[in-house]
């Protein structure tokens, strides 16, 4: 994992979470801006996952808990789009906070990825 990209992921997770809560407070249902925000966040996560997988399978990186790492990697990529889908399925003000919950959960998953990655370094 690249530290720079990891920091970008935390910032993006925090930005999506804050934006989601703000739109709930302002009584705005999730819309195009939420899709763009989650899309940008997801792009960072996918790039991070691809780099991690390449390093793991072709870059000679070995981890003590590789399976666990891969599961968290999969979770980190899957949660934001699922949260977005669940949030937009019932477009009320609460959708923003649903997206925020997904972003925070994803941020924690990225932190777990970091710990598992560092354990192998």
């Amino acid at each position: 994992m690249l530290v720079a990209l990891e920091i970008v992921a935390y910032v993006a997770a925090a930005a999506v979470a804050v934006y989601g809560v703000v739109t709930t407070v302002r009584n705005q249902p999730p819309g195009r801006s939420h899709r763009l925000a989650v899309g940008a966040f997801e792009a960072v996560l996918v790039v991070q996952a691809v780099i991690a997988v390449v390093l793991l399978f072709a870059g000679g990186v070995t981890l003590p808990e590789r399976t666990t790492f891969l599961i968290y990697l999969l979770v980190s990529v899957c949660v934001p789009p699922i949260a977005l889908q669940f949030a937009t399925a019932e477009p009320t003000r609460w959708g923003g906070t649903v997206i925020a919950v997904g972003a925070v959960g994803t941020g924690v998953a990225v932190w777990r990825l970091h710990e598992l990655w560092v354990a192998g370094a």
Binding site: E65, T67, T68, I71, Y72, V75, V79, A83, F86, A87, E90, T92, W94, G95, T97, V98, V101, G102, G105, V108, A109
Partner: protein
């Protein structure tokens, strides 16, 4: 006239479903990797992890569903979750020797920002608030 119950997965309830889903995912995934990789180290703790994961899955399904049976599942799962986090939390605070503290309920969910302790109270409150006649 008693009012019909409101869906637990509507409005702010969707936030609760989302939080439960995250816990269902993380607790179950964690338990499965523990059981697959190092089960013999602490079988009781890892089975407990798995039980917690299943309880969160049932709570998520119960809160997300709209038929009366789902509400009963949610009541049962959230009540079990409350008992579980209080019992396991207390046992781990009193005697950490027998419990490696890596289940979701250990020390009242300290490893998860104490959310596992708060969550069942919110869940029970929400089930009561959305039930018929409220």
């Amino acid at each position: 006239m008693p009012e019909n119950p409101r869906p637990t997965s509507s409005g702010p309830g969707r936030i609760l479903v989302a939080v439960y889903a995250i816990f269902a995912l993380s607790a179950t995934a964690r338990a499965l990797t523990q059981i697959l990789s190092k089960f013999s180290e602490a079988p009781v703790a890892y089975l407990l992890s798995l039980l917690a994961g299943v309880v969160y899955i049932l709570a998520t399904i119960g809160l997300a569903g709209r038929k009366p049976v789902y509400r009963r599942i949610a009541w049962g799962a959230v009540a079990f979750e409350l008992v579980g986090v209080l019992v396991v939390g207390t046992l781990t605070v009193l005697d950490t020797g027998d419990f490696p503290d890596d289940t979701v309920w250990s020390v009242y969910g300290r490893g998860y920002g104490f959310v596992p302790l708060i969550l069942p109270f919110i869940g029970l409150w929400w089930l009561r608030r959305t039930s018929a006649g409220k």
